[in-house]
Amino acid sequence: MESAILRSVNYNAYFGDNHVCKDVNISIPKNEVVAVMGPSGCGKTTFLRGINRMHELIPNATAKGQIFLNDEDVMEMHPIFVRLKIGMVFQRPNPFPNLSIYDNVIAGYKLNGIKLPKAERDRIVEHSLTRVALWKEVKDSLNKKGSFLSGGQQQRLCIARAVAMEPEVLLFDEPTSALDPISTSTVEELFHELKKNYTLIIVTHNMQQAARVSDRTAFFYMGELVEFDDTKQMFTNPRDVRTQNYITGRFS
């Protein structure tokens, strides 16, 4: 794993006194899809939000350790730079309700006050929407509000919004848990497409989904990273008994 794009070293996260992530050491190779799994409350979301410094937005939340993005410590960088390089997609689609579809895609530029020529903006919008397989569906209604789209379309719009910033890593927190099966499979197909240009980290409770879309899987248990391995290896021959119990459904 010499070409690790993201590497955490003894990462610890807390909510007040509650120690949620415990000494997480993980090394994520470039252009791979990593699934993060584990029982509810084990700290998956917390770890994911730690990577792009969203964790610290919660009052009382603190973190220790290092997370390297291309050998630069994220914990030392200004959070704004971190978030521009590491995009995030949330569990529930959250397009900006006051903006049109077009403006939602370039929200990262527009709302940050970055001025771009019209042609460049058009290009980014079309490119990003094409990437998330939404262009054909919305190209005639770009001026409509983003909240008029279906749930699955909204989620793809949110992915397009993250993609438009050309980040290096994309974080997904249960991106399909609020979507119906058809929208879910559209989004899953996207992951294959997106991994050509980005590194994806996806939190999911759905083991079939992890098996379908990911190259590697990380298994968290009670705040610890128990196992991190090739997805196939992990599902057929887990090394840790806790992983084994989880994937055979012995605890939820």
């Binding site: 792009n52 969203m54 978030r83 949330f90 959250n94 397009p95 900006f96 929200a107 006050g113 909240s147």
Partner: protein, 285 residues
């Protein structure tokens, strides 16, 4: 259960319903009566004086053709100055309270705002008198504006806070995750999404102070002439109504009714405008 029992229950239910309707009607009656009376008296003034009474100056007793121009203009100026001061402060404070829900400082500010909302307007008038009128050596429109601004503040603050509190956290997170700094998250996302609620609060606060008399009694004081100077006494609608209605002259009573009608229409229009804004600019999630 026997038929008779069920019939008895149905009868009881009908009786209750009738009682509720009766009560609700009887509490609407005084409101409607007041409105009708003001409308009637106000239109009588318009019929005898014409619409010129809006643009004419007051005349000495006995002379026909007096008007309320000075009061109308004065009210507009005093309220505009009060709004210019209170609205930005109020919105900023509301944003602060909604963004820092749990901090100790927010807790105490919120408490202060709630107390301020309950302070009688006459008390605010006295405070303005001792803080602004006495030190600067005279009644002034500005001190009246400040007294009214203090009355507007809690309404604007609380409505802004309540509106922004209802916006989902996912909205803030979406903005932060795009690398937006705090001030842009507020200005470009939070405020635009809550703008209809914020503006409703602003409108209601303006409507609320339009008829306030007590804080103006010993601040703006009143003025029989048109005055545009903020450092001098200025007439206003509620003061004019108070002065004319308590005078012994019938002409002046008529003008007081006319002014009451104008004030009523003003408040009504603001309320309608609020409803339109709330609907038109509502952000759909």
């Amino acid at each position: 259960m026997k038929d008779i029992h069920i019939k008895f229950r149905i009868g009881k239910s009908i009786f209750f319903q009738a009682f509720a309707i009766l009560l609700s009607v009887s509490c609407v009656i005084p409101l409607v009566a007041i409105l009708l009376y003001i409308l009637d008296a106000g239109f009588k003034t318009i019929r005898t004086n014409g619409f010129q009474f809006l643009t004419n100056l007051p005349k000495p007793v006995g002379e026909a053709g007096g008007g309320i121009a000075n009061a109308l203009l004065g009210s507009i100026i005093i309220i505009t100055v009060a709004s210019v001061v209170a609205i930005p402060f109020g919105i900023l404070c509301g944003i602060y309270l909604s963004e820092n829900r749990k901090s100790r400082w927010a807790y105490w500010s919120r408490l202060c705002v709630d107390i301020l909302q309950g302070v009688p307007s006459i008390v605010i008038g006295i405070v303005a008198y001792f803080w602004l009128v006495k030190p600067f050596g005279g009644f002034s429109a500005f001190s009246g504006s400040m007294a009214l601004a203090i009355m507007m503040l809690p309404i604007v603050i609380r409505s802004t806070e309540e509106t922004l509190k209802l916006l989902p956290d996912s909205l803030r997170e979406a903005a932060y995750a795009l690398g937006m700094p705090f001030h842009r998250v507020i200005l470009k996302v939070i405020v635009p999404c809550g703008i209809s609620g914020i503006l409703s609060g602003v409108m209601l606060s303006v409507a609320r102070i339009a008829g306030e008399t007590a804080p103006l009694l010993f601040t703006a004081f009143g003025n029989p002439y048109v005055s545009m100077r903020l450092d001098k006494p200025m007439q206003s609608m509620p003061l004019l109504i108070f002065n004319y209605a308590t005078s012994p002259y019938n002409d002046w009573h008529d003008l007081a009714w006319g002014a009451s009608l104008v004030l009523l229409v003003w408040v009504l229009l603001l309320n309608i405008l609020t409803k339109i804004i709330a609907r038109r600019w509502k952000v759909q999630f």
